[in-house]
Point group: C2
Chain length 726, copies 2
């Protein structure tokens, strides 16, 4: 990392001006900061000469202390340009430019004789700012009652939102005017294993919006460390969002010790939706990598024992012990109460449907080995799944004791012999104390058995009750696991955890997160067909998602006759997701038998990279379509993905001008067939192989819930024979 | 352990009798069990033909399920005698007899088609009973809304009580009629570092009472495992106590999974107060020892770096960083915000008053070595004490990083060379997640540095807030620490933890507990002079207390001119405490310089044993006096202690008939001088050495807040010359 700027520019000094302003490096953004007549801090943000954030208040309400809301004067004001280019351990780009003008305003509050710093960073793609609390004699320890950061909208924008919740983000997105959010509250919410509503006007971040003038605005946060997660609550009358933090069991919003900071509050803005997707502001606002040796951190493409349980074909549990919801039924009669360390599973009757059995896992290892996958995930390998959910059990899992039919050592050796890595699964069931108690032992067990990645899970209410998935206590827990895992050189993929805020820059062993409605919901009744055209604008702003794409069989009843769910996606759309849903961790989630039925299409999943030197967002409109081209790490091959959510489908038009002019490329285009439709004909796809060059253009129709995927492989000229040009 | 009884006696079978009864082995107790017209279970208890517990309801109120309150029929009823004698690892007796008649009543509740077992054990000293929840198809997981166990008193008894509280038992005892409890609520409460009131009519267990007829009744619980602590709430009108459990942050009282049980509810009764003190019912109701190798568990007599901080002479903290309550004062100006891992303590200015510095600790080691103490406790050795309390910090201590002036290795080697064991201190400040995160590392650090005992502390509110010191979550934490410590062969002395319920039978590495108002309060304004005549009837019913006696200088201003507290006790009383306050862990708490001023009296502390083969309670009346004689483990020496709380003092009269008739004994009597008084003349003591035999009798005056201590050493006849008979 190099710093290109050392110059310090003092824009203002000590003056109590009513408004001061800062420009972005490219001059497109202008932000103003001012104190009103009560000494309350305000900011506004203009883009290309027009307001995108109207004057909005800044402040923090404290408990049992004078709040940081008003009575301020400007004590110091300092501005500096900053420009660096850095290399992520993995990512969408080989190099990431981090350029902004920074402005730190030191405010003095005479009533409490205290200082508060508000630090702004104005990038070419938007604004980040945070509160900084210097250690000072009148402020060392404090409790936040509520953060009072406002985002005043300039109109009744279209928003792509999910309902505010302290415990889950696993909702379909609703597209509506801001003024319609409250009215759509009920329809926007669906049931989840753990959920805690906030207010009918509360939404989650990252929140995507579009103005009537065609300006795209994204609100989120960056570097959420030792602080509670921010929601946004809408004042419908004035169209002003205000921060709403996640409480502790007493209702407080955070316990802090100066010196410390809030996370960054981010406003990404452009009149081109592609710029929102291409923004690196969130990751740039995080601290540089703290892991010195990163040789063990590797992007992973994997298969696993997972979709078969999600669809209900097989079970996590080894027996029909006490599955959720069957208490009181005949099924329970013959089995004991399941207690780890007391229940002898070898004396229970296997249910014959246990997914993670040795023979089956070896089949998956074979499949991974044959098709070149890096890893195999195994869920349901450990004792306790008969009775894991819904009862707030403390000792729900021990993370080291396999079921009788899961041969840890045999599988380890078999996987080694096939050159495949095993991926561990740690479901906590929300019992986080229990998880922390076992963490060292579990990580040692992993390393001893050749697992170097873990998928963690937090399904259900957090124990002790009163805590939430997104409060400071839990934010600190997830961070603890990431850092502890790094000590053991273990990569983490956390499900149901706090949604990411770019922390993977600092801790690149955090290779995945769920924290949104993933593919599993396609087996639970389905997701909206345009869901995947929204996730990159919302959830993925903070970091990659373990979305688990690659479903080829959309009729779930063919896997489990008792499950009539339908996957609202075409097969071509599923292929495109490996490119549109950027992640260093990509699963081929469907069953091997389904891939074996469509090996020609499966070839794309085998070919596609999971780490990139470059990314070009070619087309984008939230809710409608996304088209992106990415250059594979250390290679001249490119992969293109398009997902489409438009009713009736859409013709995508792209240039291949991202290709090198002096190279030859063979493109394999996996697209929806003309008759394809996510619901009625999802498996209708076409594959064609053509030559492409820098000058090629493509017009490609994609169905609703459909899309296309293209692999573009550099070839020698000799290998171009017999292939048509595009 | 042997079982003397195998015979199974079926007293009743399947009948729905309106009242069934059970007798104690000696016939003094009779208990009745019945179902009322609503099928609600009731019990009553008679002692020597008179009711001590009037008909009282039994039941559990459940959340979101049919409660276990009524609608029961008797499905089965089975009674068995039981008699065993077992040897504790340490204790008041070499052998403990555990004899009772057991009665298990299986109740069936047709509305929910569920069974509930109530198991009674009727001893010769009282009744224990508990609820048992068999695993059954209609009851596997359940949440307790409230336990509804009643104890209906037969009159307006005198009670010796402390106010109900979810977080502390550190109150002086109030003696009043039951009907006066509510009126004395305010005066009964004093401030504490963490306290949560329950109700004006709520009191804590063990609760001691005395009837107008002179019957002593003690209510408590035994084997509190994975359940929340029980308080008692008084229905003043009917003089009925009802159980009141400690809630989780949501207000629920416990999350259970069948099969499981409640703790035992205990009612110890006698017309002789000495029998209450001598009762082993509580420990007998616990499970046998679970630690196979107990060779490392050893009673400990120790000195330490402690009283000097309690009195304010020296500090736990190495610097004057941010002590509690000074935020905002000038003292904070020059020091940074204290953060472990960030603050470099070597760059802070020492305050010159840090107790746990290497030179001073070595002085303590020398003192311990010279006077034959087993161990030296060191508090304030580790970084963080500048800012440890009141702010609910997460990472408050790391338990392994010493202050710059505490040489861990040097002290370890010095202590080894002197044959002295070091005792570690782990203050958690209520941040229990942080403690659990560091527990393995901390215990390994202890073992590596030759510490095999730890004093834990839980000062302040429990984090995460909403939990309490006494709820199920925390009960499980304390238990986790005990069991984890046992793995490392570490003995535990837990302060501010849940009050004991006899668990030391099962986990004898639990050698101490505070959980009551200890000697420290004598430096915080003083305790009542009869406090120590009550603790053995109340707090000590559940197990030993680390009371830290042995204060010789009662005028605290002589230690710290800024502290005007007075120790409400005579010096002789302090000596007696080593015998009256049974504990395998006894501190000589005062400063070495104070012991050096009174070396003749100090001799008793040096001589007194901390483990016993026999104990004889010679005199007892709660609030007034206790006299006990104990025979030292593996020796023929006896030690006698008397503490007196009677205004104006009292003449104690004891026989020495516990001595062997064929042996010779020299008794050294340490008693209050005639002019002694706890307030005006506490250091006035007399020592005389006399011959005693089985036929000796002693009449000995003791002052209010006073007492006497006697060492009785077996000698050869040759060594009796020149000594007078008593």
């Amino acid at each position: 990392m190099k710093k290109f700027v050392c110059l310090t520019v003092l824009l203002f000094s000590g003056a109590v001006l009513m408004a001061q302003e800062l420009m972005s490096p490219d001059g497109k953004f202008r932000m103003q900061f001012s104190l009103d007549v009560n000494g309350a801090p305000n900011y506004r943000l203009d883009y290309k000469g027009k307001a995108v954030i109207k004057p909005s208040k800044l402040g923090i309400e404290l408990k049992d202390k004078n709040s940081f809301l008003n009575g301020f004067s400007i004590k110091n004001s300092e501005s500096n340009p900053f420009d660096e280019t850095w290399q992520p351990v993995w990512g969408e780009w080989k190099n990431i430019r981090n350029q902004y003008n920074e402005w730190a305003v030191t405010l003095h509050q005479s009533s409490g004789d205290r200082d508060l710093i508000i630090r702004f960073r104005l990038f070419n793609d938007g604004l980040g700012f945070r509160y900084e609390f210097p250690a000072q004699k009148n402020l060392l320890h404090f409790v936040i009652k509520e953060e009072r950061t406002q985002f005043a909208m300039t109109g009744d924008h279209t928003a792509y939102w999910i309902s505010g919740d302290y415990d889950t983000q696993e909702y379909d997105y609703t597209t509506s005017k801001l003024s319609e959010i409250k009215g759509k509250y009920k329809e926007a919410r669906s049931s989840n294993a753990s959920q805690t509503a906030i207010a009918e006007t509360a939404v989650q971040t990252s929140l995507m919006m579009k103005t009537a003038e065609g300006i795209y605005i994204n609100l989120h946060e960056a570097a959420l460390i030792d602080y509670s997660c921010m929601h946004l609550n809408l004042d419908e009358k004035n169209l002003v969002f205000e921060s709403w933090l996640t409480p502790d069991p007493k209702g407080d919003k955070g316990t802090l010790q100066a010196s410390c900071t809030s996370p960054w509050r981010t406003i990404i803005v452009s009149d081109d939706a592609r710029d929102i997707l291409a923004s690196n502001m969130t990751i740039n606002l995080n601290e540089p990598n703290k892991i010195k040796d990163v040789s063990w951190i590797k992007p992973v493409k994997y298969v696993g024992v997972w979709w078969e349980m999600i669809t209900g074909k097989s079970t996590w549990a080894y027996t029909d012990g006490v599955p959720f919801g069957t208490e009181g039924t005949a099924a329970v009669k013959d089995v004991p109460s399941i207690k780890l360390g007391q229940t002898d599973f070898t004396k229970l009757k296997p249910n014959g449907k246990h997914g993670a059995n040795t023979a089956h896992v070896k089949e998956l290892i074979d499949f991974a080995s044959i098709h070149g996958f890096d890893g195999v995930l195994v869920e349901g390998w450990n004792e306790g799944w008969e009775d894991w959910f819904g009862y707030h059990k403390d000792l729900v899992f021990d993370f080291v004791t396999p079921y009788p039919d899961f041969d840890v050592v045999g599988i380890r050796e078999y996987a080694k012999s096939k050159g495949v890595k095993m991926i561990m699964h740690h479901e906590t069931s929300g019992s986080v104390r229990n998880y922390e108690r076992h963490l060292d032992t579990a990580f040692k067990f992993m390393k001893a058995n050749n697992y170097d990645a873990v998928k963690t899970g937090y399904v259900g209410d957090i124990v002790p009750l009163g805590n939430y998935h997104y409060n400071q206590w839990m934010v600190n827990h997830y961070q603890y696991v990431i850092e502890k895992a790094a000590q053991y050189k273990i990569m983490v993929n956390a499900h149901e955890a706090i949604r990411p805020t770019g922390i993977y820059r600092t801790w690149p062993n955090m290779i995945g997160n769920e924290s949104a409605r993933g593919t599993e919901f396609q087996a639970f009744g389905g997701s909206k067909p345009n869901h995947v055209t929204l996730l990159p604008f919302t959830r993925l702003i903070g970091g990659p998602m373990d979305f688990t794409p690659g479903i080829f069989e959309m009729d779930i009843s063919k896997i489990n006759p008792n499950n009539n769910s339908h996957v609202n996606s075409t097969l071509a759309n599923q292929l495109a997701l490996y490119v549109t849903m950027y992640s260093p961790l990509q699963m081929a989630a469907d069953l091997p038998e389904n891939y074996n039925r469509f090996l020609d299409a499966f070839q794309f999943i085998k070919d596609v990279a999971v780490d990139w030197d470059d990314s070009k967002y070619l087309e984008a409109e939230p809710g409608d379509f996304i088209t992106v081209a990415r250059k594979a790490k250390g290679s001249n091959n490119w992969f293109v993905g398009n997902v489409t959510g438009v009713v009736g489908g859409r013709v995508s038009t792209i240039d291949f001008d991202f290709l090198d002019s002096d190279k030859f490329y063979v493109a394999t285009i996996y697209s929806d067939a003309k008759t394809a439709h996510y619901k009625t004909n999802p498996q209708a796809y076409e594959i064609k192989k053509v030559l492409v060059s820098k000058k090629s253009k493509l017009k490609q129709w994609a169905a609703e819930g459909g899309g296309y995927a293209i692999s573009i492989m550099e070839v020698d000229k000799a290998n171009t024979k017999g292939l048509k040009k595009l």
